[in-house]
């Protein structure tokens, strides 16, 4: 019960602190993969995480094609071709929502204590989450594409362009995941994360060329839609999937994606280290 048993650390403070924090990069990748596997196992037991990125966009597709399609696009067949690339971008943004909600949930349960008491990289829970969510996003894209083909959507470009569109969707989805991660970590209550998520998604989705031609919108909205990253990504995907101009929109889409990543990845990481 005395201090006599305490011996000073046998290395200098700085070295020791470094050793206490450092996990090698290979180990850190291993940790992220273990967490990613856990997040994918979660999907089997809580498929609702998957429904957000599959069933919801299908419902949107059916409603927009068969209810509004004639009114918006003149006829359903033309509107279907117009809509599907937009829906694929919607899949990316719905999928990203889950990233934030799931991270928030992890932090509000006792399991974070377990993770933090293990000798693992601090980043593991965040990087594992993003990794698993990219897998979920890829699955969502595959499902919606098959669904679209089943209801008559046709691609008019070559397989390389289709792969390019999918790659852009993954990249854009990744950037949205980082926004969602930031929101999920910055806000305490899971319900608030859920509502916030939809709040920032709605203008991004509807104030864009996702569902309708911005040319028919009032001037102020048109101005917003034209710089909205959703429009740029959707129009690029349209070009890559059904044909049309690509280059101009692609540049803007990539610029936005990189910009979002550059801003929100560090923000999310900072928020994460604060709480982890």
């Amino acid at each position: 019960m005395t201090a006599t048993l305490l011996t000073p650390p046998d290395r200098t403070g700085k070295e020791v602190r470094a050793a206490a924090r450092r996990v090698g990069p290979r180990a850190a990748v291993g940790h992220a993969l273990a967490i990613a596997r856990r997040n994918l196992v979660q999907l089997r037991y809580d498929p609702s995480q998957l429904l957000d990125a599959t069933l919801m966009p299908m419902v949107f597709t059916l409603i927009f094609v068969y209810v509004f399609g004639g009114a918006i696009g003149g006829n359903q067949a033309d509107y279907r071709q117009y809509l599907i690339p937009g829906i694929m971008v919607q899949v990316a943004s719905f999928a990203a929502q889950v990233t934030g909600v799931a991270l928030n949930l992890d932090f509000s349960t006792g399991v974070m204590d377990r993770f933090r008491s293990l000798p693992i990289a601090r980043s593991a829970v965040l990087s594992g989450r993003i990794l698993a969510d990219l897998c979920r996003l890829a699955l969502g894209q595959a499902v919606i594409l098959l669904f679209a083909l089943a209801i008559g959507f046709r691609m008019h470009t070559n397989p390389l362009c289709v792969l390019g569109a999918l790659a852009l969707l993954m990249l854009y989805g990744l950037s949205l995941s980082w926004i969602a991660a930031f929101v999920g970590l910055a806000i305490r209550s899971p319900q608030a994360v859920q509502s916030m998520g939809f709040l920032w998604m709605i203008p991004l989705q509807f104030g864009s060329s996702m569902f309708a031609d911005p040319g028919t919108m009032p001037g102020w909205l048109q101005a917003f839609a034209q710089v909205n990253p959703t429009t740029l990504v959707v129009d690029t995907c349209r070009g890559l999937l059904v044909g049309g101009p690509v280059a101009g929109n692609l540049f803007g889409a990539l610029a936005w994606t990189c910009g979002i990543l550059a801003v929100f990845a560090p923000l999310a990481v900072r928020q994460y280290t604060r709480r982890a």
Binding site: I35, V41, D113, S117, P119
Partner: protein, 318 residues
């Protein structure tokens, strides 16, 4: 003996609330320390500092030879934590919980798989391997939590109120599992609100209240201060209570007292042989008995004796 845990003047403040107020203690390797105290005493806060989950505001702590602040990673690779609010992952099945931790600890896949199977077997959870922990009973969840904290084969294990809320059977089961671990040489720091639990498992007990250690020692030493186990006898109707008390007093070190209102005769059990002697005397007397039990002082009673007051935050069930 080397010390597995050395704490010196540990302090933690939450705002103006000093949750832990200068606690110092040493736990020799291979022994069990029971941290006994009421709700809000600071037990969980101490455990969380020792598990590197929160930083102390003052003092120092070394676990398995490593400083909890300066060498957090080394500490983490040597401890196991079973939190007060079970830290199992509710979102994946029991088996996956253990496999995940094995992989996080960089065990090869095959080894992690085998270990998960082995631990489930050892903690009798094999049948529940593929079910989500949210469908487990309280006892099963605790066992899974314990199994999860053992994947890394820790030198030091923290058990924060491991049996609170468990039925007596699950509690006894868990006690046996803890004894089994101690027999293998693991150092255990256990927090509890139950004197009985501290006595059953701990080599030494530290009593804490409002973030301060107010008493410490072996169970026997504390018992000597607090008053140890009490034999309570309820003779059948019509029996002469005073006579029974006289006979019992002759059998033991202590003096038996009569509680006329309850119809009870109570004898403090001071020495190990006292209980046997008392039972002999009762048998020889031929007096019919309705009930007979031994009673361990509750936390309330311990506190009454040590501090002259009841526990500060919410009286606890003993």
């Amino acid at each position: 003996m080397t010390a597995a845990i050395e704490i010196d003047g540990l302090v933690k403040e939450f705002g103006r609330n000093r949750a832990v107020d200068g606690v110092s203690l040493t736990v020799p390797a291979g022994t069990v320390l029971g941290l006994l105290g009421p709700n809000g005493a600071g037990k969980t806060t101490i455990v969380r500092m020792l598990a590197t989950l929160i930083r102390p505001d003052g003092g120092r702590a070394r676990v398995a030879g490593h400083d909890v602040v300066e060498e957090a990673l080394q500490v983490r690779s040597r401890i196991g934590l079973t939190g007060q609010y079970a830290s199992v992952d509710e979102s994946i099945p029991g088996w996956d919980n253990l496999y995940m931790i094995g992989r996080l600890l960089r065990l090869p896949r095959r080894r992690a798989r085998a270990l998960a199977d082995e631990l489930l077997e050892r903690f009798r959870l094999t049948d529940a391997a593929r079910r989500l922990p949210r469908d487990y009973s309280g006892g099963m969840r605790r066992r899974l939590d314990l199994a999860a904290s053992l994947v890394g084969d820790p030198e030091v294990l923290y058990l924060d109120e491991p049996t609170t809320g468990l039925d007596p059977r699950s509690r006894n089961e868990l006690w046996d599992m803890v004894r089994d671990l101690v027999a293998r040489g693991t150092t255990v720091l256990l927090t509890t609100q139950y004197m009985e639990e501290a006595e059953a498992l701990a080599d030494r007990i530290a009593v804490i209240d409002r973030g301060r250690m107010i008493a410490g020692g072996t169970a026997a030493e504390l018992r000597a201060r607090v008053g140890g186990q009490m034999l309570r006898v309820r003779p059948g109707d019509g029996a002469d209570l005073a006579d029974v008390a006289r006979r019992l007093s002759a059998a033991g070190e202590g003096t038996a007292t009569v509680d006329h209102a309850e119809g009870l005769v109570c004898l403090p059990l001071a020495r190990p042989g006292d209980l046997t002697a008392a039972v002999h005397v009762l048998t020889d007397s031929g007096v019919a008995m309705d009930a007979l039990d031994t009673h361990t002082p509750s936390l309330d009673e311990v506190f009454l004796t040590l501090t002259g007051g009841v526990p500060t935050e919410g009286r606890t069930t003993g």
